[in-house]
Amino acid sequence: MPASKAQAMVADLLVIDAGPTDDASALWRLALWTLRHYSPVVAVDGVDGLVMDTDGADHLHGGEELLLSGLVNRMRSHGLTARAAIADTWGAAHALARLRAAETTIVPGGDVTKAVIDLPIVALRLAAETIQGLRVLGIDTVGQLAAMPRAPLALRFGPEPARRLDQMFGRVAEPIEPIRTPDLVEVSKNFAEPIGAPETIARYVHRLVEQLAARLAQEGLGALRCDLIIHRVDNTRQHLRAGLAKPVRDPARLSKLLCDRIESIAPGFGIEKLAVVAILTEPLAERQVASSLIEEAVADITPLVDILGNRGHRLFRVAPVASDVPERSVRRISAAAPDIGQAWAAKWPRPSRLLANPERIEVIALLPDQPPAVFTWRGKRRKVMRADGPERIFGEWWLRPREFQAVRDYFVVEDELGERYWVYRAGDGVDPETGSHLWFLHGVFG
C-alpha cells in the first residue's frame, strides 16, 4: 500500500522511514545477546529473524518450553514482539515461527512432517516468482508440493523447491554458521586423525581448558558460560554448554563440568576438531585467601552448585517474604546468592509439609470461632482431641484489591492418633463477605 493511500485512510498517521541498515545492526546485537545467554550456535536468519541450535544448551533454562517462553518474555520486556518455534530442522522452525498464530510453538522430535504439511508454500523460503508460479499451478501448501513428482518440478522451477523441501524435512543437512565476535576467548584443536574414544576426548578437553584458562588469566576474566563445540568429520556439529554461578577460570572445575556430560557426545565417524569458547565472561580479580587461625573456614559450595545445575537439577535457596499468607511467605533465590541473614519471624508453629492446593475437608464445628470437633480428610474420619486457634490471617488488600475482605482462620488440630494438621476456614464465621465458610486442610505437622 502506498504511503499516500494509508495517509488518506487514517488521520494523523505517523510515517517513519524504514532503516534497513539500522535494523540489521540491531538484529546483529540481538544475535550476540542470544549467543551469550541462550545457545552457542546463533545466526541471523533473513532480515527479520534469528536461528539458534538449542540442543545441548536448553538444560540451563529448565528445558525447551521454559527456554522459549523465557526468551519471548524477555524480548517483550524490552519492547520487542517476538514469536518463536523449536523444531527438528531450521526450515521447519523458520516456517512455524512465522506462520503459526501462537507465540511459542514446540514440535516434538520426529513430528516435523505433521506440523508443516498444511502450511502455505510461502513458508519454504523460495523466491517470490517461484511461489507465484507454483500458485498458478494450483499448489498452495507444502503437502501438495511434497506430493508432486520431482523431475517436472525441477525442469520448470530449477532445483530450489526440492532443496528447500528436503531441508525442511531434514533429508539434507543445513548447518548453521554461528556468529563470532573478535573479543570471544576461544581455543581450538584440529586433529590429523579423527578421535572418538571418551578418554581421548576428555584428555583434549582438559588441555584446551588449560589453554583457555591461561588466556582468561591474561585478560583478567572469569568464564560464566563455557561451550565445547565438537566438529565431526561428516561436517556436522555438536555442542555442550556449561553454565557457572560465579565467574571461574580454574581449569579443573571447568573441565570437570564439560567432561561430566561427555557421554552425551555422539562422535559418529569421528571428531576432527574440538573448540572451547568462553562465551560469557566477567572480570575476575585474584583474591588473597587469608589463612584462618581462629575461625573455621566455611567451605565454598559453588563448585557443587555448578556440577548439579549442569546436570539439570533445579538448585535454589529460600528466603523469607514479609507476608502472612503461608504460600506467599517463601521465595526461591539463587543457590549461589549471598547470605540473607534473616529467617521467618512467625513464632506460631508451622507445618513441615504444606499442600500445594489446600484440600476440602468435611467438618463439624461450632461457629464462629470454635475449632472443628470432627473432620473427614481423604475419606478418613478423624476426631479432634486437642486444638489451638484461631490464628486469623487477612487478605493482602494493599496488593490485591480482590482480597479486601478475605479472611482465613487457621487451627492446629490433633486427632486420636496424635497426628497434627493445619486446617483453616475461609471466612470469619460471621460475615459471608469474608469467605465461603468452607473448611480446608492446608498442612501436616510433624
Binding site: L304, L308, H313, L315, A335, R350, R353, R386, V413
Partner: protein
C-alpha cells in the same frame, strides 16, 4: 551381632503390624522403668572394647577419625555406637502411620539433626512440598540449606552422591521412595570418603508400600519416627509434639525405642517419660500383668 539386631527389629515390627501386640524376643528386664533403658556395652567392658578396636583395624576404618553427632540425650547416645549419629555414614529415617506418606515428623527430625551440624546442608527431593518456615523453626537457618529439586528418583540418588563426595557439606539429605542395596552402598562409600553425614528420608506414595522398609540396606542406622498425642498442657491447646523414635536397626548396636519431644528452636530433642495412653503400650502392659 548386626544381623541379630536387624532381625530383632523386623520380627517385632511385623508382629505388631499383624496383631497389635509386641512379641518381645529380648529379655523383658531391659524394658523396665519409666524411660526405656538400653543395655549399654562398649566402654564398660575392656575386652569388648579391645575386640572392637581390632575389628575396626581389620575393616580399614582405623585411619579415619570417626566423629559423631550426639543427640545430647544420654539414653539415646548410649544406644548408638560411638555415642551419637556417625558422620561419614548413611542413616535412614522414615515416618510411621500417616507419616509414611507425608514424612512430616521425619522431615522435622532430620532438620533437627542437620541443624546441630556445622556447615552447609544439601537437601534433595522430587516432591517440593516442604514448608521452609517449619524447617527454620527446627533450627536450620535458610542460609545454610541448598535445596535440589529433581524430576526422578535416580537423579536424587546421583545428586546425593555428588553432594556426599564433594566433601564441603556437613549433611546431605535425600527424600527417596526406593533405596536399593547397591545405591545405598554407593552412598555409604561416598559418605565414608568425605566424612559428610548422609541421611535418606524415606517416604512412600502409599502406606502399604512402606513394608519396603524391611529390606536390608547399607545404612548405619535406621529410624522410624511416629507421632504420638502431644504433651498435655494445663490449658486447652496443643503442646510440644511427642514422637515415638524407633531405632530399628543400628550397626554394631541393639535396637531401642524412645519417646522424644520434637526439636526445639536449636534442633535439640528431649526424652520424655513413656506415656501410658499409647495403645501398643497398654496392650503390652496388660500382657505383662496377665
Amino acid at each position: 551381632m548386626v544381623g541379630n539386631a536387624l532381625w530383632g527389629g523386623l520380627t517385632r515390627r511385623h508382629a505388631r503390624n499383624k496383631k497389635g501386640t509386641y512379641q518381645l524376643e529380648e529379655p523383658l528386664e531391659t524394658r523396665e522403668g519409666s524411660a526405656i533403658s538400653v543395655v549399654s556395652k562398649p566402654a564398660l567392658n575392656p575386652v569388648l572394647a579391645e575386640l572392637r578396636a581390632r575389628i575396626g583395624q581389620l575393616e580399614g576404618g582405623a585411619a579415619r577419625t570417626q566423629s559423631v553427632l550426639p543427640f545430647a540425650v544420654p539414653e539415646m547416645d548410649r544406644a548408638l555406637p560411638g555415642g551419637g549419629l556417625a558422620f561419614g555414614a548413611l542413616h535412614e529415617i522414615a515416618g510411621g502411620g500417616g507419616g509414611t506418606v507425608d514424612g512430616a515428623a521425619a522431615a522435622l527430625f532430620v532438620a533437627g539433626i542437620a541443624a546441630r551440624t556445622r556447615g552447609k546442608v544439601l537437601w534433595c527431593m522430587t516432591r517440593p512440598d516442604l514448608f521452609f518456615p517449619a524447617i527454620s523453626q527446627a533450627g536450620l537457618h535458610p542460609d545454610r540449606v541448598v535445596w535440589c529439586e529433581s524430576d526422578k528418583e535416580e537423579e536424587v540418588l546421583s545428586a546425593m552422591e555428588a553432594g556426599l563426595s564433594f566433601g564441603g557439606l556437613s549433611a546431605v539429605v535425600g527424600e527417596l521412595v526406593r533405596l536399593p542395596m547397591n545405591a545405598s552402598r554407593r552412598l555409604q562409600l561416598a559418605a565414608e570418603k568425605s566424612g559428610s553425614m548422609g541421611i535418606v528420608l524415606r517416604r512412600w506414595r502409599r502406606q502399604s508400600e512402606a513394608s519396603d522398609y524391611g529390606q536390608p540396606t547399607a545404612s548405619a542406622t535406621r529410624w522410624r519416627i511416629s507421632t504420638l498425642p502431644s504433651e498435655r498442657l494445663p490449658v486447652a491447646g496443643v503442646g510440644r509434639a511427642r514422637w515415638l523414635a524407633e531405632l530399628m536397626r543400628v550397626k554394631a548396636g541393639e535396637c531401642a525405642e524412645f519417646e522424644i519431644g520434637a526439636p526445639d528452636a536449636k534442633g535439640r530433642v528431649c526424652l520424655l517419660p513413656v506415656s501410658g495412653g499409647r495403645p501398643d503400650q497398654a496392650a503390652h502392659l496388660r500382657r505383662l500383668a496377665g
